[in-house]
């Protein structure tokens, strides 16, 4: 366990005190300006006042806190090592672990299907769940690029934006419907992926990250400034919402509508729930595709390129082509998510496609466990719900968010679900033949 600590493992009391004292010293240095000194208003003029007792209490708290923290980290990692040794003795239990993940996945699917029925009158819950699913979709798209193919893409939001604007323009300018525009906009995003990927995928690691970061910003800056095309900072408004096989979600009137056709009383919730099921369907298709692709030669090549590019070349694999296919596929999924986003919001502007979004999507992939499909779902839940649940903490909620991320990194350094499932086994063949 290589936790970022000053000293390692089983320590004597003196060593623990020394460690805590050194941390307390840092606390003291930081504390003098932050706690020890303050300004007070004395008759209209500002004067510096000292708060040494408070500083003393602060440093003492750091000292004791460090002792306790260090002790508990040591206990946890010692326990972990014991468990790892026990697991090492029984490696054969790996098939059981796969079953566990599968069951969790099925349970999550059942929950996702039932959720809007249970909360059919709670718009906030269904809306939030839809947001979670958008991030799941984006996460799965990026997971192909980052988690499977190992290409660090910091500009995934660019393809999300391309998809969203493609749909917005196709629908408002040319009157395309949602379902017709969906594959076309996905294709446009894939084309954008091809254009960026073709020259830049020769780069490795950090360099690729910088290029994709730059591309993400270029798209946003173009959208802000090319007013004739994208509406500039004002964005594009009144984007048509998806309809239920041609039946719009509108109060019953002259034209047929969803509520009128089924003889239901009109409720704005119909559309919210419908949108939820649309994104759920898109997510399920995505999941099916990615799971199948992973078990095909191209999926295994993606992972092989992540593991060792040079070995791939020596085995006759065209690494550029493999990387490009992962990048384009991820871009297409991002574009499809963008189409849904535009259709759901009814309004888009460059504001929605900042670097912050890319960072959150990347965080979802990394926290979830690179390459893990279910991990992405769990991480999306955490990353979308935490800020929502934290609303009561007002300005501290981002602090809470940061603390939760650090905790996940300490407990699960490889991500929430870091276990990798083999794409095929020898046993399966013997059973089939």
């Amino acid at each position: 366990m290589r936790a970022p600590v000053l000293v390692h493992d089983a320590l004597t009391l003196a060593e623990r005190c020394k460690d805590a004292a050194s941390v307390a010293l840092i606390g003291l240095l930081l504390g003098v300006p932050m706690v020890g000194l303050t300004t007070v208003d004395q008759g209209g003029a500002l004067q510096v006042a000292t708060r040494w007792p408070l500083l003393g209490a602060f440093v003492l708290a750091v000292f004791v806190g460090r002792l306790v923290l260090r002790y508990s980290i040591d206990r946890v990692s010692a326990g972990k090592r014991l468990r790892e040794r026990a697991e090492g003795a029984a490696t054969a239990s790996s098939a059981g672990g796969a079953g566990w993940v599968r069951q969790l996945g099925i349970a999550a699917l059942v929950l996702a299907l039932l959720m809007p029925i249970v909360f059919s009158d709670n718009r906030y819950v269904v809306d939030t769940a839809t947001t979670v699913l958008i991030y799941v979709m984006l996460g799965w798209g990026l997971n192909v690029v980052v988690g499977l193919a190992g290409l660090l893409d910091l500009g995934h939001v660019a393809f999300y934006a391309v998809g969203a604007y493609a749909y917005a323009l196709l629908s408002t300018q040319f009157g395309w419907g949602f379902w017709a525009a969906l594959p076309v906009a996905g294709g446009i995003a894939a084309l954008a992926g091809l254009l960026v990927g073709w020259p830049s995928l020769r780069l490795r690691g950090d360099y690729l990250a910088i290029v994709t970061l730059g591309f993400g910003e270029i798209i946003r800056v173009v959208l802000v400034n090319w007013t004739d095309f994208s509406g500039g900072p004002n964005g594009i408004a009144s984007i048509p919402r998806p309809s239920f096989f041609g039946l719009p979600f509108r109060p019953p009137g002259d034209t047929p509508s969803f509520a009128g056709f089924f003889g239901l009383e009109f409720s704005p919730m119909h559309r919210i729930v419908f949108l939820y099921y649309v994104i759920l369907l898109l997510c399920l298709i995505t999941n099916l595709l990615v799971t199948r692709l992973r078990k095909l030669p191209i999926g295994r090549a993606w992972e092989a390129v992540r593991e060792d590019e040079i070995a791939c070349r020596a085995l006759g694999i065209n690494v550029t082509g493999v990387k490009l296919s992962a990048f384009v596929f991820g871009a297409m999924l991002g574009g499809v998510a963008g189409v849904f986003f535009a259709a759901r919001q009814g309004f888009i502007s460059p504001e929605s496609f900042t670097f912050n979004e890319s960072a959150i999507i990347l965080a979802i992939v990394v926290l979830g466990g690179m390459g893990s499909q279910l991990g992405v779902v769990l991480a999306s839940l955490v990353l979308v719900l935490l800020p929502e649940l934290g609303r009561d903490f007002s300005e501290f909620r981002m602090l809470l968010f940061g603390a939760a991320m650090i905790l996940i990194m300490i407990w699960r350094p490889g991500g929430i679900l870091s276990r990798r499932e083999p794409t095929l086994r020898v046993a399966r063949k013997e059973g089939g033949a």
Binding site: R300, A311, R313, L424
Partner: protein, 281 residues
């Protein structure tokens, strides 16, 4: 059977310079077909650079590398990108520092090596996504090939274990098994015996000999372990400072004065033990 005499690979006046350093200097070499050829030489003699020039990882400064492919005729390797050397020319190499896909299982490593035929069978993933029978047959065949090599290299028990979790000697065998899955005509092994214990080296010898005898393979290997080089090689080429200083049968090489000088005459020579060990029997 004229190709018994004809070399499978001909290196002609190959030169590789890195800035001011000449790693390979005007090297010509013929690798006989269906034989084991060893390239030996002190550290820094240019052996791995030679491999890199042959397999498309480096573009040589001068000279040519010609493969006499049994089915496809004569191919120029020096202009091909590395993946084409493996795919089209079927010249497959391993690495001095093992390069497996550590988090993938041993079986997956061997299946990845069959990427090109499988990818073609999967119709660029469309037939594969639909699970068409043609793709399933190709997958079953790839699995059979992989299981065949795993059984032959005594790796079958480890098939479903992540490759990176296995001991060093086993990883070396996996890398050879993986290279064999590409279906090479010429197998280039970069120090396959490095880090192996004597029993493992003896097993390697047997494997190399059976690959040539039973599978019609030609093998080119770089090796420091003289127990391997002297026992299995039909032909040895000695490099020093990027030049060929000797060539011949193991017996000729063992008694060649310039080879002895290259190995023993160096001041900071790490290979002294190995060469005396090889010369002892």
């Amino acid at each position: 059977m004229s190709d018994l005499l004809q070399p499978i690979l001909t290196v002609d006046r190959l030169t590789m310079r890195f800035g001011g350093l000449t790693a390979i200097d005007d090297l010509s070499l013929a690798v006989p077909a269906r034989k084991i050829t060893a390239v030996i030489g002190p550290n820094g003699a240019g052996k791995t650079t030679l491999f890199n020039c042959m397999t498309g990882f480096y573009k040589p400064t001068l000279g040519s590398v010609r493969l006499n492919h049994p089915q496809r005729g004569v191919l120029a390797l020096e202009g091909l990108p590395s993946h084409a050397v493996a795919h089209r020319a079927q010249v497959v190499r391993t690495f001095q520092n093992i390069r497996l896909f550590p988090r993938m299982t041993v079986l997956e490593n061997l299946i990845v090596a069959q990427h090109n035929p499988l990818q073609a069978a999967s119709g660029f993933s469309l037939a594969g996504l639909l699970g068409l029978p043609a793709y399933r047959r190709a997958e079953a065949k790839a699995l059979e090939t992989a299981v065949g090599w795993l059984t032959r290299l005594k790796l079958i028990d480890k098939a479903d274990v992540a490759a990176g979790d296995l001991p060093y000697g086993t990883q070396r065998r996996i890398e050879i098994a993986r290279a064999l899955c590409v279906d090479p005509v010429l197998l280039c092994l970069d120090e396959p015996a490095a880090g192996l214990n004597p029993r493992e080296s003896a097993e390697l010898n047997e494997l190399l000999q059976s690959l040539v005898a039973d599978d019609d393979l030609s093998i080119l290997l770089i090796e420091h372990d003289m127990s391997v080089v002297m026992n299995v090689s039909d032909h040895i080429c000695v490099l020093n400072y990027g030049r060929k200083i000797a060539e011949g049968t193991p017996e000729e090489i063992r008694n060649n004065p310039s080879v002895i000088q290259a190995y023993l005459g160096e001041e900071e020579d790490e290979n002294m033990d190995a060469s005396t060990e090889g010369a002892a029997p």
